[in-house]
Symmetry: C2
DNA sequence: TTTGATTTTGAGCGACTGTTCAAGTTAAAA
DNA sequence: TTTTAACTTGAACAGTCGCTCAAAATCAAA
């Protein structure tokens, strides 16, 4: 054997993720990254292959973090819908100011790569599909628990949730509308229960 | 006097707008633009000052086009809500394949510039606010016409519309979900009428 | 036809891009 | 202690970026 890898891979990816999330893929230069993660080009390219490779890992890690965040709120809630509501409130209200962007990194990726960059476009589609599948299992559980009616399928609830959540995050990506967040989240969950 | 301006300014801006809309500001190079609008650097910089200047004009033109598109649908509809529904269906279903992106250029701008580039960030916020004000006048008319209840203010309807519309456009920015568009638009307008 | 202000051209500037790789450093194995 | 494979470093490469400006082209006015 030989020298161990000095940097902590997970931590590096998390820092890179923050930068990519804030600035987007194209607008983030490798020199920005070098400074943020404190690695020299050679090490970065040995570990991740390319800027695209590092972004790819960052985006994957982002979705993992988001899922585990939701799981956390679900564990501390007595209902699925309550857990999701706590998650939405946390993202839109509580962690708004310490987040690199109000807009979901996955949504930003979908927007930035649409039809262009083959590999990253495919990745963002794939991760989006997997997240929708995950949400669908949650809503299936909510229906099973009689938290929600069976008028809609679990997938339809998941779709409505995504549309509403993405729309709200986009809307609150501007200054001076903070006091509208809670009422609009209330409206969102009122609607979900009445669908 | 002297030589006349050869290019047609409006047309150039419209072509540039398509490119910026598709690729985003950062990922669009001045050489991409040169080719698309068939102008050499000197002419572009004489006419628009900078890449940022051309983008600025493009984004402004985009919102003008969007407004006049809505006005067109309103003129051909017997109700405000009907006109808005025709507009939404046109954007999400009918012109989806001939549009540079499924996502609103203004939303893309809000996402790309958030907290970063001062001037373009301000511009995108300003245009967003003006568009919301425009929408609010439309919903005020709809309430006045008894198309919608007075449970919500015109502004609240406008906010709900934007959240839903933006969310839907983001959701349909992926392949293979086309057949869901009409039902989800129906759901959106059912909800608006029941708010 | 000549004039002259205006517009267009495109070579090219300096800065920055993603990436490479030879040389240096590290620490487990011998 | 020496060896050696793994890892880190940072100068530097070729290409692209936004942009400039001297020279050429253009055309209304004289």
């Amino acid at each position: 054997m030989a020298n161990k890898v000095k940097f902590e891979r997970e931590n590096v990816i998390r820092v890179a993720s923050q930068l990519f999330w804030e600035k987007g893929f194209t607008a983030t230069s490798t020199r920005d990254l070098q400074e943020a993660i404190n690695m020299r080009p050679g090490s970065i390219y040995a570990a991740f292959g390319s800027k695209e490779g590092l972004y790819s890992e960052s985006l994957k890690d982002y979705t993992v973090q988001m899922k585990s965040q939701i799981d956390g709120f679900l564990a501390n809630s007595d209902s699925v819908v309550g857990g999701l509501r706590a998650f939405v409130e946390n993202v839109i209200i509580k962690t708004k100011d310490c987040s690199p962007s109000a807009i979901c990194m996955l949504v930003k990726a979908n927007s930035e790569f649409a039809e262009k960059d083959a590999s990253l476009y495919e990745l963002s589609l794939d991760l989006s599909a997997k997240f929708e599948a995950y949400l669908t299992t949650l809503f299936a559980q909510a229906i099973k628990n009689n938290e929600l009616s069976s008028n809609l399928t679990a997938l339809e609830y998941a779709q409505f949730f995504q549309v509403q959540f993405t729309g709200l995050r986009g809307y609150f990506n501007r200054p001076g509308v903070e006091q509208l967040a809670q009422p609009m989240i209330n409206q969102m969950f009122d609607l979900i229960k009445k669908l």
